[in-house]
């Protein structure tokens, strides 16, 4: 197993801290009534978008999931644009269409967007991977989805075709144990990772709370895809700390369960490791957090100054 350099570990840490502070800031804006959107907190699952996007090149493609905005943060999306979409104003990446469900996209960064009907990511990821192969580039697609989404029929059609055609895709399933309120054991036969064998591609189940495991598994899968060796399925076992959405009463699990999860925090665990291994000091990590929060605050400020769209916005961008 290849070692991850201290510099990369620090980058992964900063990436996760950005996601956590973004989440805190979004929740604060939500409480202040400044967010015109639903929000699915990604708290607890930061290791997967951080470790799963870091191995990508700028021109690689990203199909992201709806939990938190970590994927697009890691791919380099403008923070102000994402805040603008939360506030539904014209600073948003969509230019004022907002983010009931996020539809951020940035073709320059390979961010291909997101569908609100979960599972539609699969077909689009297969098509983008086909496109890369057709055009003779060595671009790779990473497609994130939850354990619940894995049960949509589009999974079979698209994962099968991508495997049959040896397309450069990495399928990353975030298994946090619940499809909204329904436990995986009640809704899903067998293990999701075992489906890989049925499609004749490698599959690996990893600890999705450990960013180094996610980074390693994704790097290997990306290398294989780039080399023309086809897709891989990664099942990253993880936990979400908050409800499915803000306001979720979480009647399907106990408070004790959610409190126990906090000991598994991927960020505090990496922090302890960085300090114990002498890669960083508490002081340095504290400074990093202050710097990241400052960047986020400036992005909020920038986004806040933009006007709301007028009714004419409804008619823009539909046809070419």
């Amino acid at each position: 197993m290849t070692a991850i350099s201290p510099a990369t570990l620090l980058e992964l840490y900063e990436s996760m801290v950005t996601m956590k502070l973004w989440d805190q800031t979004a929740l604060r804006l939500l409480q202040e009534g400044r967010v015109l959107a639903g929000y699915h907190s990604g708290r607890g699952q930061e290791a997967i978008p951080a470790g799963g996007v870091a191995p990508l090149r700028r021109d690689d493609y990203l199909m992201y999931a709806h939990r938190g905005f970590g994927y697009t943060i890691a791919k380099g999306m403008s923070l102000a644009a994402m805040f603008g979409d939360l506030m539904a104003n014209t600073a948003g990446a969509t230019g004022g269409l907002g983010a009931g469900i996020p539809h951020f996209a940035d073709p320059e960064l390979g961010i291909l967007g997101q569908g609100g009907t979960l599972g539609s990511c699969f077909g689009i990821a297969t098509g983008a991977a086909f496109s890369a192969k057709y055009r003779g580039t060595d671009q790779v697609v990473v497609c994130f989805f939850g354990d619940g989404t894995a049960n949509r029929g589009a999974f079979h059609e698209s994962v099968n075709a991508a495997a049959a055609w040896k397309l450069p895709v990495v399928w990353i399933c975030e298994n946090n144990g619940y499809a909204v309120s329904v436990p995986v054991a009640e809704s899903t036969a067998g293990r999701i990772v075992d489906r890989a064998a049925g499609y004749g591609m490698p599959g690996v189940r990893i600890d999705g709370m450990d960013v180094t495991e996610v980074y390693r598994a994704t790097s290997e899968a990306v290398d294989r895809a780039r080399a023309g060796e086809g897709p891989t399925l990664i099942e990253a076992m993880c936990h979400r700390f908050r409800g499915h959405y803000e306001g979720d009463p979480q009647v399907y699990r106990t408070e004790e369960e959610t409190e126990r999860l906090l000991a598994l925090d991927p960020i505090t665990n990496l922090e302890a490791r960085l300090v114990a291994d002498g890669i960083a000091t508490d002081e340095r990590l504290g400074e990093l957090e202050v710097r990241v929060q400052d960047t986020i605050d400036r992005a909020v400020e920038e986004a806040s100054s933009a006007p709301m769209p007028g009714p004419e916005r409804l008619y823009e961008g539909l046809y070419v």
Binding site: T117, G123, T126, G127, S131, Y134, G153, G317, L318
Partner: protein, 328 residues
């Protein structure tokens, strides 16, 4: 190779194939995929010979997976390619409806216009003796799919010219082809024959009655017009050649001239696009109407698999003739 210089006679199916061939020669981003489109050449022969000319990289047999066929075409379109995807029957719309309605039509809009989705979905439609699921003409389902164009040729020249324009257009195009027309022959102009999207054709000029018809019903309406000419009724046949963009100017101009309207399509009357066209005419041109609008369409029953029974259901030239005679 390349375009024919002179007028030629082609079947509707050959015209589709020529359009695909010419556009694939012109633009290497154009590719074709669907079920049985490569080695087999498409169950209606519309992709025959393309595999031999362009190879397996650009003419691709897919699994029987319509959700993927359309969804992945969207993924290819937003990353720089220009897919032409075939659903073997438009009756499979339900298997790919999320991808057609929410993804192909709306991916550009919902992401703030940062993408274009230049794709064509070929949708063979219409009665052919295969039964309630395969024989549908579901174009009206997409009236509310704003973001997608709906294009419907009625003869080989339009099939070629509209397909070439659809492939070159940066909007997603749902391209309906009546299965009963594939073997129908017609003259096709030579050269780079392009028919603009959203431009209706007056297929026959007349002064007494406007028949608005599309797909197979255009030919039926032209036959009806010939018969009615003998009875002293001068029928104008307007083919909108699709539902979006809809050429209202040509339709309303004809209505203003004749004051009488029959709308003919093969889909059942209830929920058919004739209702929308009639509503627009009522809103925009009621003062010109000298008689109530009549719709010619199938009855509101599933299309049976029996060809024998289909003859009592599917509208024909006689249905149009009878409707025109009923006008005041």
């Amino acid at each position: 190779m390349s375009q024919a210089t002179a007028t030629r006679t082609l079947t509707f199916s050959q015209a589709i194939r020529e359009a695909l061939r010419e556009e694939m020669e012109r633009d290497e981003r154009v590719f074709v995929w669907g079920e049985d489109v490569a080695v087999y050449g498409g169950i209606y022969g519309a992709t025959a010979g393309l595999l031999e000319q362009f190879g397996p990289g650009r003419v691709i047999d897919t699994p029987i997976s319509e959700t993927m066929i359309v969804g992945a075409a969207v993924g290819a379109a937003i990353t720089g390619l220009r897919p032409v995807a075939e659903l073997q029957s438009s009756g499979y719309f339900g298997i790919a409806m999320d991808e057609l309605y929410h993804k192909a039509a709306r991916w550009r809009y919902m992401h703030g216009g940062v993408f274009t989705v230049p794709l064509v979905i070929r949708l063979p439609e219409g009665a052919k003796g295969a039964g309630p699921e395969h024989d549908v003409s579901p174009e009206a389902l997409f009236l509310s799919a704003s973001g997608a164009y709906v294009v419907i040729p009625s003869d080989p020249a339009d099939a070629l010219g509209l397909m070439k324009s659809a492939i070159r257009d940066d909007n997603p195009v749902l391209f309906f082809e009546h299965a009963g027309l594939y073997a129908y022959r017609g003259e096709v102009p030579g050269g780079d024959h392009l028919v603009p999207l959203g431009e209706a054709a007056v297929k026959r000029e007349g002064s007494d009655v406007t028949v608005i018809a599309w797909s197979r019903m255009v030919g039926e309406s032209l036959r009806a017009a010939e018969q009615l000419e003998g009875e002293g009724i001068d029928v104008e046949v307007v083919d909108p050649r699709g539902l979006r963009p809809l050429d209202l100017d040509t339709i309303l101009e004809s209505v203003a001239k004749t004051g009488r309207v029959v709308i003919a399509h093969e889909a059942p009357k209830t929920g058919g696009a004739g209702g929308e066209v009639a509503a627009i005419i009522a809103e925009e041109a009621l003062e010109y109407l000298e008689s109530p609008i009549i719709r010619v369409a199938s009855a509101d029953v599933p299309i049976p698999q029996s060809r024998y029974l289909q003859q009592f259901l599917i509208p024909t030239a006689a249905s149009v003739t009878e409707a025109v005679r009923r006008l005041d």
